[in-house]
Amino acid sequence: MTDFTPTEMMTIAAARQLTSRDVCFVGIGAPSAACNVARLTHAPDITLIYESGTIGTAPDVLPLSIGDGELCETAVSTVAVPEMFRYWLQGGRISIGFLGAAQLDKFGNINTTVIGDYHHPKVRLPGGGGAPEIATSCGEIYITLKQATRSMVEKIDFYTSFGHGDGGDHRARLGITTKGPTLLITDLAIWRPDPVSKEFTVVSLHQGVTRDMVQETCGWTVRFADDLEQTPPPTELELTTLRDLQARTAAAHGGSKKGN
């Protein structure tokens, strides 16, 4: 086991949560890296789905976009986008959806739409894309996020996607039958919602991380589990797999092109 970065730990901790039986709706960035590390290590039969319609992909390189060519070339099948959203996502066939966040609250509600007022935003962010329905149609939701007080906030500016709302049985009260956020993996810790209140609770600290470090980078008062665990550090295989994947990716996407 060598040195590793907090982001590498986050990605690998997320990868470990996945099994060969999972069907994952993968987003770009950390989720894509985590899912492919899982596929290349302990979960070779995991099914990865990107919302471009590619089902069962096995890219050699991480895609820059969710519609890169290699996703299609290695997929079991590539379907139209309406079919993707109707038969596969809405049809309840995805076990795990990954979401990132610009702002996250302690109940797993996510904002990637605007900072400030919706109609007069301070910052116009990209918006939801698939997130509003990923959040409610997938069996459960895993969130990955680098901790910062700017992003882990007491109150988000906009509900791009619904987590546990105000907590408790808020999902059920809206008629949502899926579990919602069941896992938050940051660069510092692993969090799970309290079974009753649904407030995210730290259940495992990554190596070298203290409670204070978690609290200092989080905008709400952090709850820690009584039986707080320590996240095992990345194994040699995990780290090598992730770094090789990222090296292949960097080589493939290149930097600035000559001309044009």
Binding site: S52, S65, G67, P82, P121, P132, H253, K257
Partner: protein, 281 residues
Amino acid sequence: MAQFQSLADAVRDNLKHGDTVAFEGFTHLIPHAAAHEAIRQGITDLTLIRMTPDIVYDQMIGMGLAKKVVFSYAGNPGVGLLRRMRDAIENQYPRAIETVEHSHAAMANAYEAGAAGLPVAVFRGYKGAGLKAVNPDIKSVICPFTGEELAAIPAHRADVTFIHAQKANAKGDVLIEGIIGVQKEAALAAKRVVVTVEEVVPDFKDLHPNLCILPHWTVSAIAVVPGGAHPSYTHGYYARDNATYLDWDKISADRELFTAWMQEHVLDATPEVFAERVKGL
């Protein structure tokens, strides 16, 4: 009935000031050459529909062609924000634009409903989501069997849809393969359809029977533009130019740099330059 035309003629005959238009292609097959032609022709007051506005609409918005944008993800995929679109929303530069924001699922369903000739798309969506409160086009219907409240939004019915595809045959049937996105739906939902293609082949005799094909009688115009999706890509022809997507973040961050880039690479260019751009990809 499909007419084979130059890109300039195809755009001139089918896209009018004030039209509602979709340039579709999900990451793959984005019709950049057609959008550049629209920019060169200075067609304005457009209502632009697209799931991910992407660079293609960032450019059109930055050049002031759009009065309204209907969309679901205003990002530069895998890179970051769309800076020209942000500038229009945050600072009304170069003009104010109206936005109608949906989720991907909603947009895909709205195209599907448009292709299906329905006035409304019905799906399970927006539960607990904030867009319901800011987009008056998001309504609901009640399932008459279960009582479940389902989301309902208007079907997309563009005046014209532009897409890029691999091939047409001599009759004008159009083949789309790989990541097929929402192009078939976007095309069938529109009154007119303009397709740029990499090449024309005599016939489609040896193709698999279940491929995504738009029969010639569903297409208004076809223009042959090799490389016409760049910096997006065409499966089987050339790869996505990810470096250009990364570069766009810098170009679009600065109004003057953007203007100079558009002058050189769009206004002073022709559709023929696209073939050059995809060499080596």
